[in-house]
Every structure is written in structure tokens, then in C-alpha cells.
């Protein structure tokens, strides 16, 4: 197992530093799709494991939220404005309690949660897989439209390696470390990947193919919101009436 992993770790390491030879290797392997799939899942699992460790540590150093909630509540209800507020109408107290509970429910959701991190063990590799497939399919289609001659399987292999910068997220095993630069680094890696696969394309065309998946996704999300918002409005309006 370790022997099998060694070349992949080496490939990921050189891919992280945008070594063009590693992108050629990933694109021209025996089965770039399967190798790419393995690489993306491996990155996803490592990141999710680090996230799990970080969540456990974060949870272990976070003070008990329920105790803080009680103490803050005690302080708030003894303030003079609160007495005036409660006296203003019969529903005021209930409204306050509902809003207060909602705020603390959100705080519980945002606080480190090892149980949610366990779910991420499955969701993170899945999320990376979807991102990889979307990028490879759209970028390849756009690159071909622009005159690129690279093959689909090559794009699958090289673009999987372009996810190597996501490995930086393993630093999230330490709960208070802010990991930056992953997005822009991945973009650079994707540019290098597509440039190697579609060698005949000029740099502006490669750049267009690299940013096309994100632009199309943004466009689709906006369209979806524009379609869903009136439907939701009508639905809520109907329920109210």
C-alpha cells in the first residue's frame, strides 16, 4: 500500500509546486481518469481527516456554550431596558426568548462540532469530486471550442493534480490556523494543467477555458435564484393567504 502511495505522493508534491513534468505525467498515464479519481478522493480524505482532528481540538478548547448562554441571559434580564421592554407588550418576553434561542442555535452550529466533521469525511471527497468533474468537463469543452487538441482523459488526469493545493487544508488540524491562498493557487495549477494538455492554445484562450467553469457556475446560480425566488414567493404567499 505504502509502495503504491509513494509515486502518488511524489506526483502531488511536484504538482503542488506547478512542476510541468508532473502535469504531463498525470495527463499521459495509463488511465488518467481512474488515477485522477484516486488522487482527488485521497486529497479529500486527508483534508477531511485534518478537519476532524481540528474539530475535536476546537471543541475541546471551546467553553461550554450552554453555560455562557445562561450567564448572558442572567445579565440581560437584569438590565433596566429589559424590564421596560417586557412591560411594553404581552408578547415581548416570548419574542425575546425566541430570538435569543435562535441566536444560540446559530452559535451551536458555528462552533466546532466533531459529529459534523465526521460527516465531512464523506462530504469533502464528494465535494472535491464534483468540483473536479465540473471543471474538467466544462474546461475541456471550452478549450476544444477554442481550438485545443488535448483529449478528455488528459484533462481529467492533469486537472485532478491541480487540486494538490487543497492539501494545504491539512493545516486545519490545528483549529485556529487560517489557511489562505488555496483558491488562487488552485487556479494557477489549473492554468498549468490545461496549458500542458492543450499545448497548441495561446495563453488567453487557456485562461478563458480555466475561468469558464466558475463563470458558467455563477451564471447558473443566478438563473436558478431568479427562477426559484418568484416560485418561493408565490408558494409562501399562497401558504399565508
Amino acid at each position: 500500500m505504502v509502495k503504491q502511495l509513494k509515486p502518488i505522493v511524489r506526483l502531488l508534491w511536484s504538482g503542488l509546486f506547478l512542476d510541468v513534468r508532473s502535469y504531463d505525467e498525470a495527463a499521459d498515464g495509463d488511465n488518467p481518469f481512474v488515477e485522477g479519481l484516486f488522487m482527488v478522493v485521497l486529497i479529500g480524505l486527508l483534508v477531511a481527516l485534518a478537519h476532524l482532528v481540528g474539530s475535536v481540538l476546537g471543541w475541546a478548547v471551546t467553553p461550554h456554550l450552554d453555560q455562557i448562554k445562561t450567564l448572558v441571559h442572567e445579565g440581560l434580564v437584569s438590565m433596566s431596558w429589559f424590564q421596560q421592554f417586557v412591560a411594553s407588550s404581552a408578547q415581548s418576553l416570548q419574542q425575546f426568548e425566541n430570538s435569543y434561542d435562535l441566536v444560540w442555535q446559530i452559535a451551536h452550529l458555528l462552533a466546532p462540532n466533531p459529529r459534523l466533521a465526521l460527516l465531512a469525511l464523506f462530504l469533502t471527497p464528494l465535494q472535491l469530486l464534483v468540483q473536479w468533474l465540473w471543471f474538467a468537463l466544462v474546461a475541456q469543452a471550452v478549450a476544444r471550442m477554442l481550438g485545443g487538441q488535448g483529449k478528455m482523459k488528459q484533462t481529467f488526469g492533469a486537472s485532478a493534480l491541480a487540486f494538490a493545493p487543497h492539501l494545504l487544508y491539512v493545516f486545519r488540524a490545528l483549529p485556529m490556523v487560517g489557511v489562505a491562498a488555496v483558491g488562487v493557487w488552485t487556479l494557477l495549477a489549473q492554468y498549468v494543467a490545461l496549458r500542458r494538455v492543450h499545448e497548441n492554445l495561446s495563453w488567453p484562450r487557456v485562461l478563458t477555458a480555466v475561468i469558464a467553469p466558475s463563470l458558467i457556475l455563477c451564471f447558473l446560480i443566478i438563473v436558478l435564484i431568479l427562477v426559484i425566488a418568484p416560485l418561493m414567493g408565490a408558494l409562501i404567499g399562497g401558504m399565508v393567504s
Binding site: 509546486f17 455562557i68 450567564l71 433596566s80 431596558w81 490545528l174 490556523v177 487560517g178 491562498a181 488562487v184
Partner: protein, 256 residues
């Protein structure tokens, strides 16, 4: 090891003096980005390390909260306001009274909230927070360097540059060297000045990196470095105008 360290120091001094040697050296070789990232990480760790060392004594102390000091601070703030603004309108005075009394009532809760235990001892949390602050510095520097460098690379190509991505990134990583000055940002008053000097010095190094790796004349290299900042300024100004217009339309709508 010692010799290698000396070489690095000599290289850093030459780069800071805008000599061409380090730019060629960092822009070539088998793995220019590996060396570039190493440099950025080392600078980030050194800058963060100085701040971390300053914070070190606080690690061993349990943070305390002085209720009386908070009361005095608020009273001082309010009386300062009253002194300069003169007689306050009755509704403002009522609001300030409620504000003052609310803080007085809530203040005793703060030490209790700070004393709420966590599953692990509080010292572990303080250590992880300290370590997190330190290790986040290189990531921040890496993010800023890469984000600005891809835009400079793009504009360098648009003004006729011929350099490759890796060669330019390798050379431009030297622009983080002046940011070592930010390790002195803890000094009161002049600390902020060091950040400004580091920023300007970093831009000069970026110009040199563009000039050498893209084989551009100096004027065009300056243009390639300045244009991303100009674009950012224009975009921010446009966003501000849009927000202001929306705000005015909302206010006008509310008024009618």
C-alpha cells in the same frame, strides 16, 4: 548549513538592493515555485514569530477582567463626550443613562463568562490560539503575494511581456522580503510606518521582477505593477458609488 544560510542572507541583501542576480536565480532552475514558497513561508514565520514571542508571556497568565476599570473607562468616555458636546438633548441623556446602567449591571457577568470551563484546560486553548496566530501569518503572506502576482502577470503579458508564469512567480517572491519589517509593527506610532515602507519596497521589487522575467522596459514594468492596483481602486470606487446611489434611492423612497 552555515554556508547555505550565508548564501541566503547575501541573496536577500542583493534582492533588497534590486540587484539582478537573485531575480535570475529565483526565476530559473528546476522548481522555481518550491523555492519561492519556501521564501514566503520563512518570511511569514519570522514576522509571525516576533509577534508570537511578544505574546508569549500572556500564554502563562490567566486572562483577568477588571470590572472597575471598564466602569471608569465608560464613564470617562461619556464625560469626555458631554464636555465637548455641551448640554445633551433629554432623549440622548436618557439613552446614555440606560446604556451606563446596563453596562454596570452586565459587567459582573463578564468574569463569570470568562471562567466558563472547556473540556480541556484553558491553557491549551490559549496555546492553540497563539500557535494559530503564528502559523496563519505565512498563509496570509502567501495569499497576498499570489493574489497580486497573478494580476501583475496578466497585465505584464497584456503590455507585451514574454516571461513564463513560473519564472515570474519565482522572481516576484523576492517582493515579500521587505515585509520582514512588519516584524517591527508592534512598536507604537512608527510600527505602521514600517508596513508602508515594506509595501512600497515590495512594489519596487515586483517592478524589477517583471522587468527581468518579462524582458520589458522599466516604464512598461511599472505600468504592469500599478495597473492591478488602479483596477482595484476603480472597482472599489464603482462599488462605493453603487452603494451610495442605492442608499440615496432607499432614503428618497422612504421619505416619499
Amino acid at each position: 548549513m552555515k554556508q547555505r544560510f550565508r548564501d541566503w542572507i547575501a541573496m536577500a541583501r542583493a534582492a533588497l538592493a534590486l540587484e539582478s542576480g537573485p531575480f535570475y536565480s529565483f526565476g530559473s532552475g528546476p522548481a522555481p515555485l518550491q523555492r519561492a514558497v519556501l521564501l514566503v513561508v520563512v518570511v511569514g514565520l519570522m514576522v509571525g514569530g516576533v509577534n508570537a514571542m511578544i505574546q508569549l508571556p500572556a500564554l502563562t497568565r490567566t486572562p483577568s477582567f477588571n470590572v472597575e476599570a471598564l466602569r471608569q473607562q465608560i464613564d470617562q468616555g461619556l464625560s469626555f463626550n458631554e464636555t465637548f458636546r455641551g448640554e445633551l438633548p433629554p432623549e440622548v441623556q436618557t439613552f446614555l443613562d440606560v446604556y451606563r446602567s446596563s453596562i454596570e449591571v452586565f459587567a459582573p457577568q463578564i468574569p463569570k463568562i470568562m471562567a466558563v470551563p472547556s473540556p480541556l484546560p484553558a491553557g491549551v486553548g490559549r496555546f492553540l490560539s497563539w500557535l494559530g496566530d503564528w502559523l496563519s501569518t505565512p498563509f496570509g503572506l502567501l495569499g497576498r503575494w499570489l493574489s497580486i502576482s497573478i494580476w501583475i502577470m496578466l497585465f505584464a503579458r497584456l503590455v507585451g511581456g514574454k516571461g513564463t508564469l513560473l519564472a515570474y512567480l519565482g522572481a516576484s517572491s523576492l517582493s515579500v522580503l521587505p515585509h520582514l519589517l512588519q516584524a517591527l509593527s508592534f512598536i507604537p506610532v512608527i510600527g505602521g510606518l514600517f508596513a508602508v515602507v515594506a509595501g512600497i519596497w515590495g512594489l519596487a521589487i515586483q517592478v524589477k521582477a517583471v522587468e527581468l522575467t518579462h524582458q520589458l522596459p522599466q516604464k512598461r514594468a511599472i505600468l504592469a505593477v500599478i495597473l492591478p492596483y488602479l483596477l482595484l481602486f476603480v472597482l472599489l470606487a464603482m462599488a462605493l458609488v453603487v452603494v451610495l446611489v442605492l442608499l440615496m434611492v432607499t432614503i428618497a423612497g422612504g421619505g416619499s
